[in-house]
Structures are given as structure tokens and as C-alpha cells.
Symmetry: C2
Subunit: 292 residues, 2 copies
């Protein structure tokens, strides 16, 4: 008998990518294809980019149409599913339910009493009970993980390093509360905390209150620090940065961006690096080494 060696990626069958907003789903899809895997995109109606999704084999589902999703996965013979891209959390009453979802209703209602990780972990459990394995973007496309060290030409100085450590410490302290993954620190002072509104809105409002003079901190200070929630399932909802993050950080007058290396994703590393250099911002992957 001839040893066939480890099973190639292609042997594992097609992979389904449930697509939220942004370009990350497509970066991951392209990486999977380069590994020789067939990819089926499943767009979340109202979130996924319809123009880009049309260039791949794809289907559409509405949020919470579990029955429809399970039938599609079965028909396409997908035993692996990744959730990629951003969503706005709906209210429970906004969900458009199908029959399978109706049966899960009491369980889903309970998920809505808590933070986002609480919902997402519950959804993973529901999907995996159907025999579908949920995998993370970084398992398909490890290259999208932010590496250790500076990404562009600029690097954080001592003052920035101190703010980064303080920000990581803060994010760890709020971890148990399943709240956002971002904070802005300037001169050892927490100036802005991300919660349900997301990083883009947090930075936009910071730009607003700096412009109006209602929040002030010295030029050359200010770091956006992003870290995954402690205990968060890393298969979903890792912090991500993109060219828009750079643009928003520049508009808020920050000095740079720090993310935990290996725990944050960048859909377009080259674009991010170029945008950071143009904006004279540092973007750095750091160890999660703040004192516990």
C-alpha cells in the first residue's frame, strides 16, 4: 500500500464562508482558492458586498435563517464553515425567522441577553450540532494575521509603548464584560472606549470631540489599541484593521495603532501599510504582555 501522505486541503471538500460586510471574506476566499480548495460564499443579506460576491460561487441568506443555511451547506457538501466580516447586531425582534430557527427560538432569545461573544458562541454551538465544523479566518489564511513588529516605516516610541501597555491592561480588565475590543490611550490616559458602536464610530466621534475642543490631548500622542477579548473564541470576530481604520485614526489625530500580533486580521496588508506611511502613523503588532 502506498502512503498517500497527509490529506491535502482539497480533500477536505469545499469550504463555506458566511460573509458579513467588508473585504475580509474575499481575502480569505482567495487564500483558500490558492490552497486549491473550492469555496462557496454565503452572503448575509444587508451586509455582504453584492458586487464582489457575484464573482464567486455564492448564495444568499438572511440573518437567523438557520434552516436555509443548513440546507445550502448540505447541498454544497460543505463540512466546514467560516464566519467572516462585520455585522451590526440586530435586535431580537428584527430577526426574520425560518422554521429551523423557530424551533431554536427560546435558545436564541437567551443568547440576546448578553454581549456579542455570548451570541456568537451560541451560534457556533448551533451550527456545530449539525455536524458542520466552524473554522476561523486565520486557519484558512494565516497570512492575514498581523505579525509581530511594525508594519510600515514608523515605529512607536517609549511614550507610545507605555500607552500601549496601559491600553492592553485596560482591555484585559473589561474582558469579562464582553464589551468592545478597542481603546484610545494618550499620555497614560484612557480617552475613548469602544463598545457596541465599533472602532470606526469610536474614532469618528473622537475626531469630532477633538475638533470641537471637548476632548484635548497633545499632538504626537494617542494610540488606538486593539486586542481580542480574553476567552473569546478566536474562530470568530477577531479584531481587524483596514485602510479605513488608518484613515479614521489619522482624522482623530492619533500617533499610531497597536494590535496584538497573531490575534488581529488585516484584509489588505499592503494597502494598510501604504496608508499608514502616508498618514505618518505607526501600525504595530505587539505581544499581549501587559502586567496581569
Amino acid at each position: 500500500m502506498i502512503d498517500a501522505g497527509p490529506r491535502s486541503m482539497a480533500d477536505r471538500g469545499p469550504i463555506a464562508i458566511l460573509c458579513g460586510a467588508g473585504s475580509l471574506p474575499f481575502a480569505v476566499a482567495d487564500a483558500a482558492r490558492q490552497d486549491g480548495r473550492r469555496v462557496v460564499l454565503i452572503g448575509l443579506r444587508g451586509f455582504a458586498d453584492a458586487g464582489r460576491i457575484s464573482r464567486y460561487p455564492h448564495h444568499w441568506v438572511a440573518l437567523a435563517q438557520f434552516g436555509h443555511l443548513f440546507r445550502l451547506l448540505k447541498r454544497e457538501n460543505c463540512r466546514e464553515l467560516a464566519f467572516i466580516g462585520s455585522l451590526v447586531r440586530p435586535t431580537f425582534s428584527q430577526l426574520r425567522l425560518d422554521l429551523a430557527t423557530l424551533r431554536l427560538l427560546p435558545r436564541i432569545a437567551r443568547l440576546f441577553r448578553g454581549g456579542d461573544s455570548h451570541i456568537l458562541n451560541g451560534v457556533i454551538a448551533i451550527v456545530e450540532e449539525q455536524g458542520v465544523h466552524v473554522i476561523g479566518a486565520h486557519e484558512i489564511a494565516p497570512d492575514i494575521l498581523v505579525p509581530d513588529g511594525p508594519l510600515g516605516r514608523r515605529e512607536p516610541d517609549g511614550k507610545d509603548r507605555s500607552d500601549i501597555a496601559y491600553g492592553l491592561q485596560f482591555l484585559r480588565a473589561i474582558g469579562p464584560f464582553d464589551v468592545g475590543q478597542g481603546v484610545v490611550v494618550a499620555d497614560n490616559r484612557i480617552v475613548c472606549v469602544e463598545a457596541a458602536e465599533g472602532t470606526d464610530h469610536m474614532l469618528a466621534r473622537l475626531a469630532g470631540v477633538r475638533h470641537s475642543g471637548d476632548v484635548r490631548f497633545a499632538a504626537g500622542t494617542g494610540v488606538l489599541v486593539k486586542a481580542p477579548k480574553p476567552g473569546q473564541d478566536r474562530r470568530i470576530d477577531l479584531p481587524s484593521i483596514g485602510p479605513k481604520t488608518i484613515e479614521n485614526a489619522r482624522a482623530a489625530g492619533l500617533n499610531g495603532i497597536a494590535v496584538v500580533a497573531g490575534s488581529a486580521v488585516i484584509a489588505e496588508p499592503k494597502e494598510v501599510m501604504e496608508a499608514a506611511d502616508r498618514a505618518k502613523l505607526f501600525v504595530v503588532g505587539v505581544g499581549d504582555e501587559a502586567p496581569r
Copy 2:
């Protein structure tokens, strides 16, 4: 010899009130006058309400003009000073210094590397070294402290009570970071965190992202929870609410407001109560009893 009894308030000489923005300084001044004390208001230029301050004996100083402030206190024979009203924290380079401040410069520069309580505690120390006793608004006007229980007609229900406890727990967790004193919780989920921007801006942005659909939570849920920072010097910067807080909470679609009883101030309790009833919001003073 005849025992003169405890010294009356009037015996303690005039009290100086260093006035920031808002109506709180005047509410406190009126309370002190009703106790028979002479009051000297010292307006912080750019913050205090010039129209209202002109109705009291008053002077003006710029932020960080310590020499000028100390001379005024001496001239007016004030041995007690209260800091009341809101400020926007300036950047260090925006300070307009006088001679006394120049001598304190290295010390003040160090104060700027940290949160607001860090600065305020440092300023208290500087003032007290001049033999001036810094007192809190609540020591002059205990009636402005929020009492235990509901303030208007509405009361929080069980779900609101659970959100209030969760919010207090969150605020306690971020206490060591000298960050803001407010958080919005809906259905056990932290939806908005106040940092340097203050409560009004936090609520305004929440109204914005709810309007755009970027943050969603069910109608009839959502509580603004305010608590003093743990270990904060209660003579300065206690959380405060006013008619504007009610208006902003209503615009953000919240169900109510909870503050720690005895640890938050209301300049205009009657107006706040009426505004809350009109807006169908509860306003409640609660014990700080969330599990530690």
C-alpha cells in the same frame, strides 16, 4: 464663661467657589448663602457662565493661574475653596501660566501624564499647601446629593435592576484606570462607555449610532449608570445629572438613569424630576451593592 456652642457656618468666614461650566456652582452658592455664609465666586475663564456669575461677588481667573488664585483667596480672606462645575481638560501646552504656576511647572507637567482624577488630586494638594482647605459641593449643600430611590414617577423594573447591577460592576472594574464615570447597559450588554468625552457626548453619539442602525437594542431597555470612581476624592468631580442628561437619555432611547445615591449631584432636582416624568424615564438613586 458661657459656652458659645459649636461654631456657626458664618464663623468660618467666606467660602470661595471656583466655578466651571453649568448651573451647579450657583446652586451650591445659593445653598451656602442660605446657611448664612458669605460666598465669593471665582469664574474659570472660558467655562463659568458670565451672565449668572455677575449676580454674585466674583472674580475671574484663567486655568492654571495659581498665583492669581492664591492672591484672590488671601485678599477675600477665604480659607475654604470648592471646585464646582465642569471643565474641558486642556492640554499642557494650552495652559496660560503665571509666576506661581511657573514654579510648580515640573509638578504640573507630571500631573498631565494620567487621568482626570490624577490631575485634580494634584491640584487639591497644591491648593492645600497654601493653607486653603478644599471642600466638596456636598459639604456645603448636602441637598444636592441624589437620595436613595426613584426621583420621579417611574421606577426601574427587574430587567433594569439587573442592567444597573451589571453597569456598576463594570464601572468598578474600570475604576483603577481613572476613566469616565458612565456606561449604558441594555439587556446585560455594555453598549456605550464614557471616557474623556463626558456623559453628554456619550449619549449624543449613542443617539447617532442608534439612529443610523449601527447599534441596536430593544425598546424599553437601556440604562445610563453613573458612579464615582473608586478611590476618587469626593470633594471634586462627583458625577452629576441635570435636565440636559434627561434630554440626552431620551434622545438615545434609554429607559432610565441610575446613579449611586449620595455620590452624585443634581443642581436642579425639581427640573430633573419634571423632565424625567415628561420623558417617561426613571431616575433612581441606588446603593453601590454590585458584587465585588
